[in-house]
Amino acid sequence: MRPHASDRAAVAAVVGAAALLLSAAPPAAMASPCCAGATLMPGRLMVHEEALVGLDLKLRNELGAFDDDATFADSSGTELAFEQGLFGALRVGGSGQLAVRIPLLQTFRSFSGEGETGGGLGDLQIEGRWDFVDAGQYLRLPGIALVASAALPTGRAPEQVTKLLGTDATGTGALQLLAGLQVEQVFDGRIFASAIGSLGTRAPREVRGVEVPASLLLGASGSVGLLLPRDAVLAFSASLASEPDADRRSLRLGLSAGRPLSDDWRVQGGVFSDPPWGGMGRNQQASLGATFVLIRSWT
């Protein structure tokens, strides 16, 4: 399908505006809590931490889907997906981090009175990041990090399902590679802002004898948060993802909160939604869901 130039332009505009906002913001005269970004990103180590392990739970309800024209249609059935992830992260070379996540998925789907449950191992995720500058380290310069991730096709691809309603599909069926740049800053010790722009590819694969070519993946996300007493963070986020070659686009909004339970344990939770309004997505499902994450870390 023909790539939409507007998708690329929208992603570039979001990333550019966010980067500009962060780097040109007026200087804050105060120190910053070190770890707002890590409080919100499950697999990310705080500046003092050497390692962590965690468990994440995600419940998602399908609201409907966007078609080719970005028109939204309500779901004609019911789909509930429950996902659990085990993850761990390790500090590498001082400013580097390496994280691995193993997801397990269960899906319940009902359509025309028929109900079905399926699931299994999802796509294994490997993430790395290198922080050139940490947020809060300098008065004017924002935190700058290079991020990269890979999703390995360890889950069951949609074309390999054995169940009637396809509830045993747990993966995309293709290797996905992404690399991006993150900028983040803390203003006045109270407000946290972060933006990530990413570029990647979904590797080519064969589906029932038909070659599916590699496709470009574009992503941009931004979050703004309030730093609360006792190192707690409350944040609003927006993520835009686009796969121009497949004419696919999605927008996800989220509200999340995180706080330490102790020096070694912290929890995060949130709600998210792909807004079910026309024009907010294309060739993509829209969902409403909630997440909960528990993390144990070591300094």
Binding site: A28, M30, P33, L139, P260
Partner: protein, 191 residues
């Protein structure tokens, strides 16, 4: 033979030069800083007759700093009459003595906060995070560097008190153990 004599001569001159340079190198205690007490003095002058100087790096907005305020006040109270001087140092970009005065009053500090606007003292001792603390002896040597304790978000009654125990050991004639730990506060923001 001449070559050997020249080499020996060069080595003697070089050693005299480097010895001179070393003795001319300013001590940590020569840093002169203005404080919230209205005085601008060197650390040596502030130390007076005390045996040890405790410098703790301060951040007005760091939750970890606020968490440790009671322990800092207790250190000052418990060791002030035992030959130990405790001083807070604000090395953050954008800090001001006026704001530090307000902070010191708000936090009931009975010790001054010194202003280190160019972070020269922070650089000299390797301070990057708030609550980073050093214990310095009369010669200017750092005897301990690191956190006040290992606590970050909660003060635990059973956690080791690195600075307190380090001072106790020094006053008893031995050395802090550990002599170096991590400080868990926020970044001391630089320009």
């Amino acid at each position: 033979m001449n070559m050997k004599r020249n080499l020996v001569g060069s080595l003697v001159i070089a050693s005299i030069f480097f010895a001179g340079a070393a003795s001319a190198q300013p001590s940590l205690l020569d840093h002169e800083l203005a404080g919230t007490d209205g005085e601008t003095k060197s650390l040596r002058e502030r130390m007076g007759e005390a045996d040890y100087l405790v410098l703790t790096f301060f951040s007005a907005t760091c939750p970890c700093q606020t968490l440790h305020d009671p322990r800092l006040r207790a250190l000052h109270e418990d060791f002030g009459s035992s030959g130990v001087v405790l001083l807070a140092v604000d090395s953050e970009a954008g800090s001001s003595l006026e704001r530090d005065r307000q902070e010191a009053a708000k936090r009931f500090y009975d010790f001054p906060i010194l202003s280190d606007p160019d972070a020269k003292l922070a650089d000299a001792v390797g301070a990057r995070f708030a609550t980073f603390t050093v214990i310095v002896d009369r010669s200017g040597a750092i005897r301990y560097r690191g956190g006040i304790d290992p606590d970050r978000t909660r003060l635990r009654g059973d956690s080791p008190q690195y600075v307190r125990e380090g001072l106790e050991r020094l006053l008893a004639g031995s050395s802090p153990d550990p002599a170096e730990t991590k400080a868990f506060g926020c970044y001391l923001r630089r320009r």
